[in-house]
Amino acid sequence: MKRLLSIIPMLLSGDGKADRVVPPSGHTAWLTSFSAAAMAFLAVFTLALALAAGRLADRWSAELARTATVRISAPEGQQAAQTRAVLRVLRTTPGIRSARALTDAEQRKLLEPWFGPDLPLDALPIPRLVEVIEGNPGPDVAGLRMRLAAEAPGAVFDDHTRWRAPLVRAAQRLRLLAVLAIALITLATAAMITLAAKASLAANATVISVLRLVGATDAYIARAFVRRFTLRALVGALLGTAVGMVAVLLLPSAGREASFLSGLGFQGVDWFVPLAIAPLAAAVAWWATRAAAHRTLRGLT
């Protein structure tokens, strides 16, 4: 890391002489920058995916873990009594922070997306819902179920575990895949820079042997190549990151009821994360070119 930091002034100030000893490579230089830009662009989106999936998994497991629902479906006339009994039980149960029966208006609002606004709620045997906020630690669910069954036979306690677990697992798997994709993008960048550097080293074999014979050290020769490829990768990755971030910014948002896809993007400090892509690309290029140069030079006298 220290060595990596020490190359930054060298890259910025530039060693014009070491640079000049290797002839300019013309239009192939552009290809390295272009590939780095494309990889950075992909990395921005993968990063957005990883962060969004992570956010989703965290939200689902945190919010849903603390809420539960009690559903009371009792015969006409007993509904109100059973609801009161359920609330009494819940309020005396350790590990329950609060319990509140939803009003008719709230229940209607919940059902509205499915049945339309003109639902005659009074005429239908709609179960009453009780919203439960659990404390930390939560209640003893098995004990609670037994007490509820005794006091209010029509009440069913649902802590959402059944549908929460697979969702959280899916989001976590998605995040893992995104992280894997970022690793692959990094490795592909390293491979691509290595190939480009190898081609450049081969094309300049005469230059290298002349330099070696007039007493140039491996470090001097390698520097000319390393600086070149690091700068190309840095510039390309900066451009790719910028374009990628603008594209993410311009993604249409579905507003508050954001589904998973429209939640793809960066939030708050997340916007600083993609800024690491360009330095990472430069570091990868630095390392890959250096390794390729030293491997080639070791084959010469």
């Binding site: 000893v21 002349v210 014979l213 007493g215 491996d218 006298t301």
Partner: protein
């Protein structure tokens, strides 16, 4: 300075040099002769570590060439000026930049040595060609540029492989005078050549020893030259 002890070099199973013993003392002047293909260039390449001996030892400035690190090899080469038979340059840099390349790679300040460079360019007759590119030079000009590049670091040892191969007698004499002058300043000189006139001419100016490669072995030539 440079010492070969029972050094041999084999390539592709056949030995090119066998049991070569040679000691280049500081300030000595040696010619290396022998028919073409006798291994003169191979022997020189052993002396500046472009090749390593397949048997025996080559000692450069007191160190065994085989055990030197790559950076030590680079450092040793800054103390040895080499004129190759096929002089290679960086074709995208000017003649002046090529000649000052050894200063560059060893981190010396080129501006501080500007005077030396101009003087050297004038000495080898390339002052007017300083800004030309190497591919624009004639064979003789290339050889003079290579000599200038070999001596700009003021090396302790100068090794030249057929330095007068492509140049006329007059220029050969000038090159020889430069080498003799460098030798008088204490530099060790080793020249491979098959030009006997050059050797005779040198012997009039300096005490030169003549080595001959014959059937893979190195011998000290007699006084007949």
């Amino acid at each position: 300075m440079i010492e070969l002890a029972h050094a041999a070099f084999a390539y592709g199973g056949s030995e090119i040099l066998t049991d070569v013993n040679l000691r280049l003392a500081p300030g000595s002047f040696h010619f290396l002769t022998g028919p073409s293909g006798s291994g003169k260039t191979t022997l020189l390449r052993l002396c500046f570590m472009e090749l390593l001996p397949t048997a025996g030892h080559v000692m450069i400035f007191g160190q065994d060439a085989r055990s030197m690190t790559r950076d030590r090899v680079a450092a040793a080469r800054r103390r040895i000026g080499v004129v190759h038979q096929d002089c290679q340059f960086l074709d995208h840099l000017s003649v002046a930049e090529n000649i000052s390349l050894p200063l560059d790679v060893s981190g010396r300040d080129i501006e501080a040595e500007r005077g030396n460079l101009d003087e050297l360019l004038a000495w080898v007759g390339l002052a007017s060609r300083a800004h030309a590119l190497p591919p624009q030079l004639s064979g003789g000009e290339r050889q003079r540029a290579a000599l200038a590049r070999a001596v700009i670091m003021s090396p302790e040892v100068i090794i030249a492989d057929e330095p007068t191969g492509n140049i006329d007698w007059d220029m050969a004499q000038r090159l020889l005078r430069l080498l003799v002058e460098l030798n008088r300043m204490g530099k060790t000189v080793l020249i491979a050549t098959h030009d006997l006139n050059l050797i005779r001419s040198a012997k009039a100016q300096v005490q030169a020893r003549v080595l001959r490669l014959h059937r893979r072995h190195l011998q000290l030539a007699g006084a007949d030259l």
